[in-house]
């Protein structure tokens, strides 16, 4: 399955938007946190897990999804949320803890929920998989269209929930795709030090489901393989496990000193940054010009700036509203 030029541009644009978004958050996150770095301070307090470098995993999969489809993501959700079509303004406002945020500021960066596009996530490692399987079950039982995609990190593949949910999805032949973003690290612990198998995709055989390994963080390859998996799911042929080798360009979270990285790793990852790579591909394939690129980047920047401005301009909720929405 190969993407059309339109689809490639859609993927590239969303990668750029996502990267701009993260870079902007990165800058603003540090406001109020210098000279002394205190997580509680500034317009964006709390933990911040950036997705820089992992954009291909988001766009290559979500290019095949529409708003009816379900995505359950992780503690590192921004890139996937953007590719899934989560309202960027409301997401920014949520990250700022504003009244206009997706949940009015109750959830925050690790709890991005947008019911309009069926997007959610959990800050607990491995917990996305069961929820996605259940949403897929719901569609199957209701005979409604729609597939579910669960994102998880390679570190999450050693969590018991992974095993249970994949088995359940396979036994019930659910329309769900499990996408592992292998960025080689679980905080400071390497995949190799924590995982008894080289490719988690090989674990698919333990559930009699197809396992697909995608090297090189390549959006086109991801598009192709994810497309097949999602088609299988839509056709009622059951779940697929995909593992994508991707890059975590930033630290685990903002403030991570990254001393555990081998020398040169960050530089190498910067060299294989998927965004310039994609640009080059567009240039080679479609005579993509600098002017076109500038224009696309300009639009992306506008989108992000507008979202951030919306977040900044929005009011904080009334403190006592903390008591609402526990029950409906």
């Amino acid at each position: 399955m190969t993407p059309t030029q339109e689809q490639e541009l859609w993927m590239y644009r969303h990668m750029v938007v996502s990267r701009f978004f993260e870079e902007t958050i990165e800058t603003i996150y540090m406001e109020g946190k210098t000279p002394a770095f205190n997580m509680a301070k500034g317009p964006i307090p709390g933990e911040m897990h950036l997705s820089n470098g992992q954009e291909p995993c988001a766009v290559g999969v979500c290019a095949h999804l529409n708003s009816d489809d379900i995505v359950v993501s992780t503690h590192r959700p921004h890139h996937v949320a953007i590719a899934k079509g989560v309202d960027l303004k409301k997401m920014a406002a949520e990250i700022f803890g504003k009244k206009t945020g997706l949940s009015g500021g109750r959830g925050g960066h690790m709890h991005i929920f947008d019911a309009h596009v069926n997007f959610s996530c959990s800050g607990i490692i491995g917990e996305s998989v069961g929820v996605a399987a259940g949403a897929a079950l719901s569609r199957k039982m209701q005979g409604k269209p729609g597939v579910a995609v669960a994102y998880l990190g390679e570190g999450a593949a050693n969590q018991g929930a992974f095993h249970e949910a994949l088995n359940l999805a396979a036994v019930w032949k659910l329309p769900v795709v499990f996408v592992i973003e292998d960025n080689a690290w679980g905080i400071s612990v390497s995949k190799q030090a924590s995982t008894a198998v080289k490719y988690n995709s090989d674990r698919a055989s333990a559930y009699s489901m197809p396992g697909v390994h995608i090297p090189n963080n390549d959006p086109i390859e991801i598009f192709a393989k994810a497309g097949e998996a999602i088609e299988r799911a839509r056709n009622g042929e059951g779940p697929t496990l995909i593992e994508i080798e991707t890059s975590r360009l930033a630290g685990h979270f903002m403030g991570d000193a990254e001393a555990y990285r081998p020398a040169g790793e960050k530089e190498h990852l910067a060299e294989i940054d998927p965004i310039p790579g994609f640009k080059k591909r567009l240039q080679d394939q479609y005579q993509w010009t600098e002017a076109q690129d500038e224009a696309l980047r300009g639009q992306a920047r506008e989108l992000v700036d507008a979202a951030i401005q919306f977040a900044r301009d929005s009011d904080y909720p009334a403190p006592e509203e903390a008591l609402d929405k526990v029950f409906v």
Binding site: S103, S120, I124, E127, V131, A135, L137, E164, V326
Partner: protein, 341 residues
């Protein structure tokens, strides 16, 4: 009268639960059941008996022994418009799957600012007294009730069981439905006769969060839930022999907790005994005593708790029966209270 008796229909809690679920499944195709051995077997404790036959394996789904997966799946299905009823066979097993329950089921509504509802029921068996050992006999009332975002109910009789289950299934929020094994009316677990009561054939709700005054009295308030209520009623009968009039309050619901009903009762009686088969410390008994105390209700003597000691539940009957709450212990507690007056 004979008419009424003819109409009168006593059910066990197990049957009342199954009947409520069946009635909701008939009228609402979003309702379905998942769990271990809840299909053809009808549930180890009988509360899904008949459902598999009537609704089939699509809506009454046996699961692998994967609580984290199928409870997580219930959260996902509920968020997508279904109304799952999942069974955690023994509450004691919560430790393998509690994240899906307390961090997702209970919090996703809040995290989504109310945009995502999680209308599901988690039913789970509680309680001991039949020598099933320390990993199959617990109540864990406070373990669930302490954490925000989930309602927690637990019936003491079949009438409440049907009505609470109906209300739980219809509630747009997640509800934990705890049923005590010794009250299920499964002969093989022993049977508390008083739990088997008349149950209307028509559908009805018992509101979540309202306690019931099961017996009115003027000298002492005995507060309990599930098995504790029955110990309280037996104690009340014994106390009556001594000329003591005991009021028995059945909480029925731990979350929301009907503090008003308890407080009003103690205002009237001036004495409080709280009974719980869950562990003594940091439990329901402390919450009730603290709530009444905070309210500044004058008491003639310090309140008393009759709860499970802070020990793992022993297997051998001589130890387990000795450790369990009982009518006798409640009567003793009352006597102790009188001494202190």
């Amino acid at each position: 009268m004979t008419q009424v008796q003819a109409k009168a229909r006593k059910l066990t809690i197990a049957r009342a639960m199954a009947e409520s679920i069946a009635m909701e499944m008939r009228t609402d195709d979003k309702v379905f059941v998942m769990g271990e051995d809840i299909g053809e077997l009808g549930g180890v404790f009988g509360n899904t008996r008949g459902l598999y036959k009537e609704f089939g394996s699509e809506r009454v789904k046996d699961t692998p022994i994967s609580e984290t997966a199928f409870i997580g799946a219930a959260v996902g299905a509920a968020s997508d418009g279904m109304k799952p009823i999942v069974e955690l066979m023994f509450v004691d097993f919560f430790g393998v799957c509690f994240d899906a329950i307390y961090n997702m089921m209970a919090k996703n509504t809040y995290f989504s600012g109310g945009e995502v509802n999680v209308p599901m029921v988690l039913m789970t068996s509680t309680g001991g007294g039949y020598s099933d050992g320390g990993q199959h006999s617990q109540c864990l009332h406070a373990t669930f009730a302490h954490l925000p975002g989930m309602k927690v109910v637990a019936p003491s009789n079949a009438y409440d069981a049907k009505g609470l289950m109906t209300a739980a299934i219809r509630d747009p929020n997640p509800v934990i439905f705890m049923f005590h094994k010794a009250l299920q009316g499964m002969g093989w677990l022993g049977t508390e006769k008083d739990a088997i009561v008349n149950v209307p054939e028509e559908v009805y709700e018992v509101p979540l969060g309202k306690a019931a005054i099961t017996r009115t009295g003027s000298d002492v308030t005995i507060v309990g839930i599930t098995s504790g209520v029955h110990h309280g009623l037996k104690a009340a009968r014994e106390l009556e022999q001594q000329g003591v009039s005991a009021e028995v309050v059945d909480l029925r619901s731990l979350v929301p907790l009907d503090r008003d009903t308890v407080i009003q009762s103690v205002r009237k009686t001036g004495r409080l005994i709280v009974v719980d088969e869950d562990y003594h410390s940091y439990g329901m008994t402390a919450e009730i005593i603290a709530s009444v105390t905070e309210a500044g209700v004058p008491m003639k003597a310090p309140p008393q708790r009759v709860a499970y000691p802070d020990i793992p539940i022993p297997f051998t009957p001589v130890m387990e029966q000795w450790a369990l709450p009982s009518a006798e212990k409640i009567v003793k507690a009352f006597a102790k209270m009188k001494e202190n007056e």
